[in-house]
Structures are given as C-alpha cells and as structure tokens.
C-alpha cells in the first residue's frame, strides 16, 4: 500500500527533472510521450511505491506537486 499520493499541476511543469533526481525511492520518471502546453515532458510516478516523503514537492521550483499522505 503506497503511503503517499501525488497530484501534478502539469501545465506548470517545466520538465527540469529535479524531482526525478531527488526522489529517494527513484519512482519518478519523465513521460517521453506526453507534453504539456508549453512543450515540456510531464512527470509521472509509480503510484504504488510512493512513500509520501514530499522531497519531490519540496525540491520542485514551480510548486507543481501536491503530496497527500494516505492514512
């Protein structure tokens, strides 16, 4: 059972990859097939393995990621 649930404001993502690099459990990846309106590849994550640590959200320069912890 995943501990965290991520929500992305995809249109604000600039595909910088910082979240991908700093996720401690390495579950985030750039979706090469999907672009947002600005032409950046959006980020997806393995929804089963998220530990809800919010490192990705903290490191994101554009406040794209909202993190909820599953009780």
């Amino acid at each position: 059972m995943p501990k965290g649930k991520l929500t992305f404001d995809y249109e604000k993502c600039k595909g910088c990859g910082i979240c991908v690099a700093f996720c401690p459990v390495k579950i985030m990846y750039s979706d090469k097939a999907t672009l947002n309106k600005s032409g950046y590849n959006i980020i997806r994550y393995d929804e089963d393995k998220c530990i809800g640590c919010a490192t990705c959200a903290m490191m994101c320069p554009d406040s794209v990621i909202t993190v909820e912890v599953i009780k």
């Binding site: 965290g4 649930k5 404001d9 249109e11 604000k12 600039k14 595909g15 910088c16 990859g17 910082i18 690099a21 700093f22 950046y40 809800g52 919010a54 490192t55 959200a57 903290m58 490191m59 994101c60 320069p61 554009d62 406040s63 990621i65 909202t66 993190v67 909820e68 912890v69 599953i70 009780k71």
Partner: protein, 251 residues
C-alpha cells in the same frame, strides 16, 4: 482511504506561473520566502521589494503588496517603505548583480543603519536576465559572456564575499549563507529565511540571508548538474555558514 495534506503550494505565492528557466532555484527560494511569510502570518502586512534581474517579476509572484525598485536600489526603496510603516514586514529579493554590484552601497548603508528589513540575496554567480554576463560573484575561471576565457584575478578581481563583509556591520542582527542544492540544504535555508523574518518582526535590525542558487541556462548545465556545481564549485568559494546571530534586541 483517508488522505491528509502533507505538502501543497503556499498561499504566499500567487497563481501566476513563475517566469524562471526550467530548474532555476529562484523558484525554490520564492517558495521558502512565501512559506515563511505565510507561516508567520504576516502576508497581509508585508511589502516586498522586487529588484531588477531574473527576479524582476517577483512582484507578480509574491502574494503581498510589492514595489518594483530600480536596479540596485531595492534596499533604499525598502528603507522608505519601512520608515513609513515600521510595523509592516518589509523584504527585498535581490540577485548578485542587483545587490553585490550596482546596489552594494544601498545595501551596505541599509545594513549600517540597522534598517529593520530582511534581504533575500540570491547569489548565482552570473547575470541571468541579460544573458549570462560575469557578476561580482562569478568564480575565478568561470566562463561568461563577458569573461569568455574565464574570469581571471588580474583583469576581473576575485569573487566578492558579501556575507563575509556584512558580518562586520554592527546594524546586522542576523546573517547566514545557505543554499538549496539538495533537500537538506533546502530545509536549512527555510529555517534561516524564517528566522530572518522572525528577527525583523522582533525589531532586531537588519537581517540578510545569502542563498547560493543556480543558473542552468547561462551556466550551460542541466538543472541537476547545476545543483551539483553549486555544491562542488561555489560552496568552496562561498562557505555555507551562520555569520551573525546577534539575537540582541534592537529596542
């Protein structure tokens, strides 16, 4: 399945998308400033001073009343605002070109007068907005559009150490140099920024946080490599440390 909010966008930022390049840590620093103001409950009586540089549009991003200052004059503008509204929280958000080059006199004298303001000094060792020119904080050997074979001491002098200089100014109540190149640093930077605002609220005097930041595009690095460069190349020149925490009441 019951969900509890752990991390969400701060109300200290407006909904305007940030104008910064992908991976630029201006964005992280904006969040830390905005979160601090929100958590301290002072947003509704804060006046921020936007400087000129990449963060020139910060008046669109911080969810507070703002004034746009001329290049280098943010600390003078902040002085004017704070003297008129001493109970408002007043901060400037300045890059290294704005603060360490054209605006150094205004910044030094605001500090020396002990102006009860908070200065957020974003040091990314380059002029970003104008396309990558050498800044007073550019490192020796750093290639920029105005030091194309690398900064050299003979022609360009050494990187200027703002925090080292300011620690000797009596009016300074709190001064720390931090960075945001990894989660641990981001947490530490948040603490420093929040403390600086806290000291201002307690009228302790001039507070400043220097934050080593990235410029992926003008450094010619990926956002993640740029973070590494801060750690490996900038920190040795600009050590992360607490320079001054007087904690002494200003009254």
């Amino acid at each position: 399945m019951e969900l509890e909010m752990k991390y969400q966008k701060t109300k200290g930022l407006t909904d305007n998308p940030l104008s910064y390049c992908p991976g630029c840590t201006h964005g992280i620093i904006h969040k830390l400033v905005a979160e601090s103001l929100e958590e301290l409950g002072v947003l509704d009586h804060t006046v921020g001073i936007a400087s000129v540089g990449c963060s020139v549009f910060s008046y669109q991003f911080f969810n507070a009343d703002m004034e746009q200052a001329a290049h280098g004059r943010a600390c003078a503008v902040a002085t004017g605002v704070k003297r008129i509204h001493p109970d408002n929280v007043v901060f400037t958000y300045q890059g290294d070109g704005d603060l360490a080059s054209i605006g150094i006199a205004e910044t030094i004298h605001a500090a020396n007068r002990g102006e009860n303001i908070t200065v957020i000094f974003v040091n990314n060792a380059i002029y970003g907005m104008t396309g990558g020119q050498m800044a007073p904080t550019s490192l020796i050997g750093q290639k920029t559009t105005t030091s194309q074979s690398g900064r050299n001491v003979l022609q360009h002098g050494n990187p200027i150490k703002i925090s080292e200089m300011f620690q000797h100014i009596d009016g300074v109540a709190y001064l720390e140099r931090v960075s945001v190149f990894n989660p641990k640093q981001v947490r530490n930077a948040k603490k420093a920024i929040k403390k600086a605002f806290q000291y201002q609220i307690e009228k302790k005097g001039f507070t400043m946080v220097e934050i080593l930041s990235t410029c992926p595009v003008n450094w010619g690095k990926t956002p993640v490599d740029a973070l590494k460069w801060v750690e490996e190349s900038m920190v040795p020149v600009f050590p992360l440390q607490l320079f001054k925490d007087s904690g002494v009441s200003h009254e």
